[in-house]
């Protein structure tokens, strides 16, 4: 599913606590006790997906980031998006769905 999957928001969870800080967003997971720091790019991806209202591909997300950061190359955007997606997936904030 990896290459062809779409990304969707996992939906609000009452297990998560948030704190916005200057270098991103801290997330505390009540169920696991884990704390993570998500980058501003991760936040942007979640908000963009929420605004779309439907799942999107990695390529769509790269295009969205590139539109915000036209001075960065698409390769740079792809690398940054992949890192952010991995962190979001690990934090259970995004999930992959079949096309």
């Amino acid at each position: 599913m990896e290459g062809t999957a779409l990304w969707a928001c996992a939906g609000a969870s009452d297990q998560l606590l948030y704190k916005d800080v200057e270098d991103g967003r801290l997330i505390y997971d009540r169920s696991s006790g884990e704390t993570r720091l998500l980058s501003h790019l991760s936040q942007f991806l979640v908000e963009w997906l929420e605004a779309q209202g439907h799942p999107a591909s990695t390529a769509d997300l790269v295009l969205a980031v590139h539109a915000e950061e036209p001075e960065s190359s698409t390769q740079e955007c792809l690398a940054a998006v992949e890192t952010a997606l991995a962190a979001l997936s690990e934090a259970h904030l995004l999930r992959q769905v079949a096309r």
């Binding site: 606590l17 800080v21 270098d23 801290l26 720091l37």
Partner: protein, 305 residues
Amino acid sequence: MKVGELSPAEVRRALTGPGLRVATGAFNCRMQSEVGGIAPELARLYTHHELLDDAAFIDFHVKIGASRGLRRWVRPQALFTVDEVSPFTPLPQDQALPMMEWGLNWCISAYSHHLLVLHAASLSRNGRALILPAPPGSGKSTLCAALANRGWRLLSDELTLIDLRDGRLHALARPVNLKNQSIEVIRRFAPEAFLSTPVLDTTKGTVALMAPNAASVQASAEPVWPRWVALPRWRAGAATQLTPMPQGEAFLQLAENAMNYHILGEQGFAALGELVDRAQGFRFEYSDLDEAIALFDRLAEQEGA
């Protein structure tokens, strides 16, 4: 009445008998020891601490026991107990004095979940606290001892205590644990400070304890607002450098150095969140103690201006 007002014989009698009841900032302790030989140095280390009367509540009843039977004669050992429980294996008897300090630190870390406990040194100047969280070997205790000998108030060299209700720091003002080369560094840096006789071959290497000064002990009941968090790193020949650390990164560093963050759960998350809101975070690299102190003095002066 203070410990220093007792005669050496009285300290020894109290330690080997009903116990030395001492106020150490946020906690009251009753110290007993069957190893009477630690009495003179323990009295010097706690000379400025208030003695408690029999009615005072005691948080920790701690004791250093001496080995029995043949062990009395062959490689004698010391055993730490708190409320009759022994959390550690016995150690050689010459380690009895540092063992008392390690044991008290263990008690605080294990039982004080009404506070967020960080593995960090903390000091204050002009009513604002500096927190130095760091792993062993970072130069934390050396820097802490040096600052404490140059006008900064010692809150704690090892355990920083954060009140979950309002975010203020509580003091311990107990002896500073110096290891290996730090002992000679501080001996030269502050010849007026009392350091206990170095104990060789402990699990931490050679250790000695430095007595807190009178001002730090006298102020130990006053909580302080946190203002700076600096992650120290000593590196030979390094230029003194203070580099801002973003809030999120500072949060994760503090969480990693917290003894009970995972036990406190949401409360720990909230307390550390408030801490990074109040305190500026930095990475701090240094090799020269005088330069390091001058830098933190300037930071405190700028804040006070």
